[in-house]
Amino acid sequence: MNERENRDFQAGLEDEVNAFLRGEPTRRTFIKRFGQAMGMLPIVGGALGSGVQWALAQAKMELEDPSTPLGKAQALALKASTEGPADGSAFRAVEAAKQFAGVNLNMTYEAGLQGLDPRNFSGPLWEELTGIKSTVVELPSPDMYSKPIAEHIAQSGAYDILDLQPQWTPALADGGVIAPLDDLIAKYMNPADLEDYHPLYKALPTYKGKIWGLFDDGDMFALYYRKDIFEDPKLNEAYEAKFSKKLEVPKSWEDYAQVAQFITDQMAPNVYGAGHFRKAGSPGNQFDFMQQFRSNGGAFFDGDMKAALATDIGVKTLQNMIAANKASIPGNEELDAVSLWVAWLQGKIAMMYSWPPTGRMSAGYSQSDKAISFIPQSSIAGKVGYAIVPGGNPEHAFGFNKALAADSANPEAAFLFMQWACSPPVSLARCMLPYALRDPYRISHFKSELYGELFPSAPEYLANLNASANVGLLDPIMPGAQDYQLSLDRMCTSVWAGTDPMEALKTAAAEWDATTENLGVDAQKGFYQEFLKLPGATADNTVEKLGMAVTL
């Protein structure tokens, strides 16, 4: 130690001793307290973790007045869970799950309204029935795909139950993110439960001969139109004078654009003929293209697994969509689904096609809950009619399967929650929640008298959803679905901005081919052939055309 170092050391030592004598923290006390703090971390961390978990877990259970249709449905769900019938899936699930009391299940839900059901209803009720706690992990839509993958790669075991779009099933099953349910279904579920699914939805979680989830959300597009406008005598007269035919709810996409343009010409700026959610990533473009393209007779791939988009059918589809855009509310290409709902509920649009909550919001039922106050009150309640979308083949856009995370530490408890939540009586009560974005999917839902009492036109609404499912089309369920659809969204938005439809189709087709080659042409061909076997894969093999249509 040289002289300077020695001087520094002495000064430091003196400071430390003086500080000690004054009772101030010294380096020694710092190290000691630091060590103590580190030692306390596991204890504090545990307590903190529990506190955070508690805070993030579901809120207090909210049950409706038992005299209301929803209250009655909730009471029936509770009864089915506690009293039986003993062979019912809800009862079986609750009884079997009691052995796992104290376990906590982490379940992913789409951020926002979707998470309210497990927070306010199904999660607390399940805990009361079984002692199993649940933590809702809300994720933005794209993250519902990517986060489970990231957690699986990290082997974190972060999730037990995953809400997944059926189109992701092949990728996640092959990647080992989700586990097959066949054994658990055989062990716990009443097989009749599977038969209660509408045929369009029943096969959705099946992949390579195994069941990878329980379907839980009938996201069927349907046409919603203003009856008062279509019944207006003056408008009818003018339409007949111009086109020599009656003003009717359009059955073809050409008629749709024509009727929309006529209404816009007659009633704008008070009311416009139509509106769509065309904003990039909103995500409406790909669904609309897929339903129109297939109802026009298009196929996604040819025999060699080359993209078959850049065809006359593709051009016709895009031209129809452009015509509909022109006939729509200004700003149509910048609207997302929620903005479109706002315009619709304010009475600015005569026709729109979208997901089933549109019907419940139109009737003003959804807005009865404060959670959905960001949507305006309906100014069109009682004026809305329901129909199958023009072209006759609506898209089943998205939908959700409840899937079991392969890395779950509590797979049986997780499966039992899934079985219980998706069982007929419990799923009905969940679909009837005003803030829920879970839409009817079981035959028993469509036939439900209690659901039919929710708002005056609910029986027609349910009948239309069922009829739409009978002729509905599925999103392609195969690896690369995400990539294929992203290309379609890009293609559409570029056409809205002025790109020639054929050019845009060629670009999208090239992207599709690159995706297919990347994933392996033969492998993709096999997956596509499997997809084509599903009811609803094409306009030629809908549930109805396969003779499996459900009549109520």
Partner: protein, 310 residues
């Protein structure tokens, strides 16, 4: 290094014992260790891991991690969207930084002299810096939305005819919208740095120039600019490095659209990495992007250091 003599010296003569010195040395390392471990864990390890990912398949939809050589790089280099997104990045970051620099300089010059309310005005001017880019993007979406935003309405009132510009979905207005949002948020950054430079110029230099009859333009060009040139370069360097990462406002305002027309390199990498989950391709793209960025950084830093040494 400790000498034998030093090691033998005891505490009585005022020197440190060997055990105390050892403790001192270890204590230093103990203090540094958490930061070092953190850096190793969250920077060095992922960086090394990414080098492995570059040469294997790490695409979630293709099982296994087979060695693929340079395929990942090839896929990025020959992807027209990747190349286009690079040009968008170059164009947007250049325009943004140039406009922000010029505006920032103009405002800084205006604020260099003291006047009543200057403090309040400066505080207001720098507010955008503290707002999250996501919120900035959302605000501009609301402002520019067609037809619900007020911009087209105000323009219509001003011009006397109906303005129906599609700010977010029509070319070239979508680019104008992105530049507007970026310039609004980041001009204050340039302004603050350049103002600091301007206020550091000794007033007597200007006084001398004035006595010599030097005009305003010459004063600016031959006194102000040389004095604040290092600050200018610093501001441009910092801002450029940030601008080439442009992502947030694109994500909120245009979603990369229409088509892929507003894809920046960051947005492209995000899309293939975290929307499509082609992780190895995204990693290759990120490395290419990083190398290109490093070239720019190298040139700018070298220039900065050269200027500093003068």
């Amino acid at each position: 290094m400790m000498t034998g003599a030093a090691a033998d010296v005891g505490p009585k003569d005022g020197r440190q014992r060997p055990s105390a010195r050892t403790s001192d040395t270890w204590f230093k390392w103990l203090l540094v260790a958490p930061a070092a471990v953190l850096i190793l864990a969250i920077s060095i390890y992922p960086l090394l891991f990414s080098i492995w990912v570059l040469f294997v398949n790490y695409d979630f939809q293709i099982p296994g991690h087979a060695f693929v050589g340079l395929k990942n790089f090839k896929q990025v280099i020959f992807d027209p969207v990747a190349v286009y997104s690079l040009w968008v990045t170059v164009a947007l970051s250049t325009i943004n930084v140039v406009v922000e620099f010029l505006l920032g300089l103009a405002i800084a010059m205006a604020m260099a002299n003291t006047f009543r309310g200057r403090g309040v005005l400066i505080s207001v001017l720098i507010v955008p810096l503290f707002i999250s880019p996501i919120i900035v993007g959302q605000v501009w979406v609301l402002m520019l939305h067609s037809p619900f935003g007020p911009t087209n309405y105000l323009l219509s009132q001003l011009l006397g005819y109906e303005v129906t510009i599609k700010w977010l979905t029509g070319f070239p207005w979508n680019f104008v919208a992105l530049i507007l949002a970026d310039v609004w948020q980041w001009t204050p950054f340039m302004f603050v740095i350049l103002l600091a430079g301007l206020t550091s110029i000794p007033p007597h230099v200007y006084e001398a120039a004035e006595l010599d009859g030097v005009g305003p333009w010459q004063t600016f060009w031959y006194i102000t600019v040389p004095y604040i040139a290092p600050m200018m370069l610093l501001a441009v360097t910092f801002r450029l490095l940030d601008a080439i990462r442009l992502f947030d406002t694109i994500f909120i305002m245009t979603g990369g659209g229409p088509g892929t027309s507003t894809y920046s390199a960051s947005y492209y990498l995000y899309t293939i990495g975290f929307t499509q989950f082609h992780l190895s391709r995204a990693t290759a793209g990120a490395w290419i992007f990083m190398i290109l960025t490093l070239l720019v950084v190298f040139l700018l830093v070298r220039r900065l250091l050269t200027m500093e040494s003068k």
